[in-house]
Point group: C2
Chain length 345, copies 2
DNA sequence: TTGTAAGCGTTATCAT
DNA sequence: ATGATAACGCTTACAA
């Protein structure tokens, strides 16, 4: 920047002003400085900026699972609002390891990050306090810690389960099942509770619980295979899967080992939407989590705290999920002359 | 750090030495300083470190596609070797947008990143030169620019296609098809060329090309549906899919609309492994890209250039893919008494 | 409106 | 082995 000043024949301060407060500089000088910058190929030094300013223009996002589109959507949402604020979002993969999460939290703290977004591994907030105590605002995402001195943005999992079950009830299903576990995981427990609430509210509808120790595709496949063995009368006519990969596996397990048709014989709906799983066979209905909106909301809360740390008061934002009905519950859109899917014979 | 020095009753320089060169400090003082650090809850300021040192200890990875496990594997591999070197890896999502890629490249440059890893969007290297000219080492990943002043790490796509086709030939398939496009995409063209090479080398084996404008699941589904319409004699007995999601769609399209059995009637193998797609139905054979190894290799090249910028000479590393035979080509492992899969009637 | 100069918290180079 | 001290390149008063 010194070189630029010399080259443009102005002082260091003026160059800084051109960069940060151009309105306070004579147009003529602005032009001169700008052309010097271009000519010299000058690039600002953020280390120096951060040191002088006391914080960087970077927000760090410590993420649990990069391969899940839900989280990537959050990153997109957050990036969008940060970009408007002329800040950058960088990601760190905690890879579901608590110690890695702490490492990155510390790293962003040392980097003087403007703020930190955190999807806590298994709800663990360790390391967050350290970041806060060093002046780094933190927003908890996809997790509602109920009790904490940070803002948080999460989704209403009870509502997810409720919407899913209600949808099945609305299309006339009576014998529902909720598939997925473990129930010790709050998100799962909440969804189950929501489903139960919807069922209890309805007349003559039952809810069966089918557990699993994870909610990935393989567990779904196993459940699907098990269901395929059942005699038809004991089969549920509507299933709520705790997660979409589980639903995907379940669907495939059932289709490959039975003649059960979706949604005619069985309607299937998932909670949570990892889009990568849906481009196939029978598009699965889902209660979609508002990933992008969550990202936006968290970035906004973060910006608020960054800009006015004093008058800022923490908030817990809970966003509502949205029902997306697809073929697995409402069947094919009636247009065109395509053959039915999932009807092998 | 000044506070620590005062608190421990030593000089600033000594604190710095305890942190960076403890071997040159008397054990007694080390202990004293360390306990002061703990007591004061001191956290280093990386902005200051980077400013003084001329570079940070952070490597930036500008990634095209976060939701693909292939790239996330690279991040894991790179992270592993960087961690040993006491450096950090942070990720930026270019989201397949060239302008975003450039933005992040500039950002990491300004941040004085120790180095940059780049999976170029559509092979575009714009912005890289700028980073280099400002002293930031860059390693190109998953792309072989043949001509450039950077190290690069890529996979041998021709070999991918070759291995896939050879595997089908080895298990006795004669009428092969290669599915996927567009051929203007180098990775696809190379895989096709490799497949062709294997076919040409074999006796009495033919290769059909089935194009598509993308290699995602929906295109696979369409191809699968089309194939289901064919009369059985004109059907290939072995298919190489240009990418795994394409293969997944293809498999599902075929299973849902025909009685074709895998691998009995048709053997299916994919190039490229996005693991998220494989936990289902018929596990699909694939020619796996060595994501983790690529990440490790790129980080190593980067470290080399970071540590000795002068005597460093650029290298192009090309890693070999690996055949992973699964059920879609070699059938079920013969153990246990499980029913056959994919045999609806 | 523009220039001057004092930090920001380290690293690294000197003496000691 | 330790203590001073000069950069590092910017931001931000404050002075002109």
């Amino acid at each position: 920047m010194n070189d630029v000043a010399t080259h443009a024949g102005v002082s260091l301060g003026t160059v800084s002003n051109v960069l940060n407060r151009p309105s306070q500089v004579r147009p003529e000088l602005i032009a001169r400085v700008r052309s010097s910058i271009a000519e010299l190929g000058f690039s600002r030094n953020n280390a120096a900026r951060s040191l002088a300013a006391g914080h960087s223009r970077t927000v760090g996002f410590v993420m649990v699972d990069l391969t899940n589109s839900y989280f990537v959507d959050m990153a997109r949402g957050a990036e969008e609002v940060l970009r408007e604020a002329e800040m950058f979002l960088v990601l760190a993969n905690s890879d579901i390891k608590e110690s890695t999460q702490i490492d990155y939290l510390d790293h962003f703290t040392q980097e003087q990050a403007a703020g930190i977004l955190l999807t806590p591994v298994g709800g663990h907030l360790d390391g967050m306090e350290h970041a806060r105590s060093h002046g780094r605002p933190v927003v908890i995402v996809d997790n509602d810690p109920h009790q904490t001195d940070s803002c948080s943005v999460s989704t209403d999992n009870v509502q997810s389960g409720f919407l899913a079950a209600q949808h099945l009830i609305d299309i006339g299903r009576k014998r529902l099942a909720f598939a997925g576990g473990p129930r010790s995981y709050p998100a799962i427990a909440d969804r189950l509770a929501g489903a139960r609430a919807a069922v209890d509210k309805a007349e003559g509808v039952t809810l069966e619980y089918i557990g699993s120790d994870e909610v990935q595709a393989p567990q779904g496949l196993v459940i699907g295979h098990d269901l395929a063995e059942r005699d038809r009368r004991s089969l549920p006519d509507g299933i709520i899967a705790a997660a979409d990969l589980l639903a995907l596996g379940l669907l495939q397990g059932l289709i490959s080992r039975s003649n059960i048709r979706f949604p005619d014989d069985l309607a299937l709906i998932a909670c949570d939407d990892n889009r990568s799983a849906y481009d196939s066979l029978v598009p699965i209905s889902t209660v979609e989590l508002p990933g992008v909106e969550m990202g936006r909301a968290s970035a906004q809360l973060l910006l608020e705290e960054i800009r006015s740390p004093d008058q800022h008061t923490h908030r817990r934002v809970i966003l509502e999920p949205r029902l997306v009905a697809r073929e697995s519950t409402i069947g094919r859109p009636r247009m065109g002359a395509e053959r039915d899917v999932a009807r092998p014979a």
